[in-house]
Amino acid sequence: MQQAIGIRSIDDLFSPIPAEYRLARDLAVPRQMAESEIVDWFKQRAKENGEGYSSFLGAGAYFHYRPVVIDALVQRGEFLTSYTPYQAEFAQGTLQAIFEFQTMISELTGMDLANASMYDGSTAAAEAVMMAVRVTGRQAAVIARNLHPEYREVLNTYATHQAIPQQTVGFTSSGQIDLKQLEKLVGDDTACVLVQSPNFFGTIEDVEAIADIAHKRGALLIVSIAEAVSLGIVEPPRTADIVAMEAQSFGVPLGFGGPYCGVLATKEKFVRQMPGRLAGQTVDKNGKRGFVLTLATREQHIRREKATSNICTNQALVALMVNIFMTVYGKVGLRELAKQNLAKAAYAADQFSKHAKVLFAGAPRFNEFVAETSEDPYAINSRLLGHKIVGGLPLKKFYPELGNAALWCCTELTTRSMIDTAVGLVAESERSLLTKDAEPEEVTR
């Protein structure tokens, strides 16, 4: 090949790089490894990463069963190793799958249509706020304090340079947002109200009432959904204008936080202000049905600095996992799955309430609940780790006012014996605190 090109050595090809910037040494990275060594190295890391623990963690990342057909199908090279389907004739598989994904997400969220996916639930929520600003021509946003705290942080980052003033609406003793306060905060300059349901505490919001307040003043309502399985049994936010969702629960591995699958769904009239890719149905020259990426004039590669967003990729392969999961469970299975989640959390909350204070009673919840203990939950969790159980998420980092409260999650994979063991340890800790000052072991985050 060098001869064909007419060069003497490979280095001739790198002559455009000024000599003083050419690297004359080896990179100081680990030496080349054999495949068996690579596998061993990562298996070792997995052992140091909570392998074999059962967990009560949720809070925006949920451990649900993943049907094996998901990985069997997404690992087909034709899906795994293809690019964004810009050449439609050659990418109908990906395009039709996206079209089916958009259909199922619209159906489940109660919206008219959905996009092909976003990075994750947090960026989807931030993009939804910017979309509402474009739709309404107003600038301000009212954000629920019981929206996932990291989603709020991401929104802050995105909003900083968009001049979007934010106000926070608090929550009441039911864990739901304070409607009276919301009434006062929503004004004629409010572009949108952003809430999460089920919210960060697992409580289901009264979306209709919130929508009334927002719509009365001409603001849009954005509902963030972090636990997608809830849609199997909880009425979707049909009165919302935009749904910003995290679909990780639908067949995407926890994977220490990513990649996940954000998605936006909305009313038909707002579609041209929605960011992200969209697959649309059309016909070919012979009248045969086919699919293309459409409404690209919203996007950065056409509009450059005037685009609706700088977003370029979506999460196609992860959206395909979600798609297959929704297809496997379907109309009946999703409801049954959601019912099991509901039942497990209801049982666990009931058991916890015998020994600790379960907060935010009085409003319906899905598969998470908040329990307050006398002892620091970090200390309780540290002891639970000894039983190979990961306890609920201590909330004081995000909500100092909630003191020793922790957020516990149960899914269909949480067994009764896990729940009973955890409750037993919590009960023991509460009892010992009554008798003597317990000495907490090493406190981990």
Binding site: M1, A4, I5, L27, K43, G60, F90, A114, G280, R416
Partner: protein, 496 residues
């Protein structure tokens, strides 16, 4: 005429038809089974009241074999790297090693929860730390965040840091300079961060015009966003002068790392004056494109920008364990929940392990060699608008073929019939009718020869029967689709 131009790489074969999944659905079919409930049943109406959902609408009901067939049939309608060369310029469609997929699915890594205690997260933290160290060594930079979900979010993160840096000096400045050859995300990102965009013209050789830059650079400019090698596949030979010009006026040099596959192991952006850059793990570091994501866009910076990195960052505790540091008062904040696309970190690190220093260097050399082999093979057949030396990709134009009314997109569509994915069309914007070709290091000489043969054959077809090329593709399941109709009256979901 088709008998004369034989497509050696591809043959037509039987292709299964398949409807939408909703069209196969019927009540009672199921592909799921839940274990018996080990806690008491609940009364959903009592628990949820008016919040109970009664109906899931038109969600499908199908059996497992139907699901397997449905998605398998759809998959056969796609082209993929696994089927052959995918020469999309600036997209770096290289082989996606299967060991990457295997290790990403090891249980403790696939099932790790982002909020589990650091004590039982040391494996994940070690992966993040090791990958960070490798990427810093490869780029010659000082500090890094792995959080951004994709290249465009990496750009956003980088520019947020640029802005925070200037603000810390008391003046955020007003604009970002962007060469006319840049990718569309660059100006879109600058606008998101609240900067005005000012275009910078390329010179005769397709590089940043240093004299023009000197004239345009002033105290209002926050940064220059440069892609190097640029979208013509040309290395910015005066990059150090560009860096000096920026730094002299207090500006920063941002490098879009989309084309890092031309540099790894041969030169380091940190050494030639770059202050901040993003990488695309899904390009240079072999994580799969998956039909359009997930990507991963780490951002590497020089020391002066380190205080502004998104939170949290991975640190080594005094006792030697690893942890996350959240208390960083000058941070630009979070750009996404949790820590980034961790699954992609695993795959990228497995790629670095499989290569080592020698392999990484050879990868770059082979990528550049392959691009130059194609350039040599197609020179004369297609117009080469800039004869500046090519690195990992080469950009031709359709100037010769357009005389017959055949444009780059038409040539691309005909290439599909020859069993190849098209190259990148109509980009960069400074080349009218561009054919942007990036073969990557993955292609053996046999595949490159087939590609060159196909392109030459298409050029002959243009001379003999341009209409035949304009009507391409001829061998796909469907012919060219009506995109105008799709956009005018969008049908974005199935309805019964």
């Amino acid at each position: 005429m088709t008998t004369k131009h034989i497509t050696r790489k591809a043959t037509r074969h039987v292709n299964q038809n398949e409807g939408l999944i909703f069209e196969k659905s019927s009540p009672g079919k199921a592909a799921w089974k839940l274990p018996p409930l080990d806690v008491p049943e609940v009364d959903t109406a009592k628990l949820l009241g008016k919040q109970e959902r009664k109906d899931l609408g038109t969600m499908p009901e199908v059996s497992e074999i139907e699901i397997i067939r449905h998605f398998t049939r759809l998959s056969t309608w796609n082209y993929a790297i696994d089927l052959g060369m995918y020469p999309l310029g600036s997209c770096t469609m290289k082989y996606n090693p299967r060991v990457n997929e295997f290790v990403a699915r090891v249980e403790g890594l696939a099932n790790g929860h982002p909020y589990q205690a650091e004590k039982i997260s040391q494996g994940a933290l070690q992966i993040m730390k090791t990958l960070s160290d490798c990427l810093l060594e490869i780029t010659g930079m000082d500090a890094i965040t792995l959080q951004p979900a994709a290249g465009a979010q990496g750009e956003l993160t980088g520019l947020l840091m640029v802005r925070a840096y200037h603000e810390s000096k008391g003046n955020a400045r007003k604009k970002i300079l962007i060469p006319d050859s840049a990718h569309g995300t660059n100006p879109a990102t600058a606008a998101t961060v609240g900067y005005a965009v000012e275009n910078l013209k390329s010179n005769q050789r397709g590089m940043v015009d240093v004299a023009a830059l000197a004239a345009q650079m002033n105290e209002d400019v926050a940064a220059l966003m440069v892609t190097n090698p640029n979208t013509l596949g040309v290395f910015e030979q005066e990059i150090h002068k560009i860096a000096d010009l920026m730094h002299d006026k207090g500006g920063l040099l941002y490098m879009d790392g989309a084309n890092m596959n031309a540099l790894v192991g041969k030169t380091r952006p940190g050494d030639f004056g770059v202050d901040v850059m993003h990488l695309n793990l899904h390009k240079t570091f072999s994580t799969p494109h998956g039909g359009g994501g997930p990507g991963s866009g780490p951002v590497a910076v020089k020391k002066i920008l380190a205080p502004f990195l998104p939170t949290p960052v991975v640190i080594t505790n005094p006792n030697g364990t690893l942890g996350f540091e959240y208390n960083r008062p000058q941070s630009v904040g979070r750009v996404r929940a949790f820590y980034g696309n961790f699954g992609m970190f695993i795959r990228a690190l497995a790629y670095i392990f499989a290569n080592g220093p020698d392999g990484l260097r050879q990868t770059t050399e082979d990528a550049v060699l392959n691009a130059n082999y194609i350039r040599k093979g197609l020179e004369g057949t297609f117009d080469l608008p800039y004869d500046t030396p090519s690195m990992h990709e080469v950009v031709f134009s359709d100037k010769l073929q357009s005389k017959k009314g055949v444009r780059t997109m038409d040539l691309a569509k005909r290439l599909i019939d020859y069993g190849f994915h098209p190259y990148t069309t109509a980009f960069p914007l400074i080349v009218p009718g561009a054919l942007m070709i990036e073969p990557t290091e993955s292609e053996p000489k046999e595949e490159l020869d087939l590609f060159i043969e196909a392109m030459k054959s298409i050029a002959e077809e243009v001379e003999e029967d341009p209409q035949f090329v304009l009507d391409a593709p001829h061998n796909t399941r469907i012919s060219r689709l009506d995109e105008t109709a799709a956009a005018r009256k969008p049908v974005l979901r199935w309805k019964p």
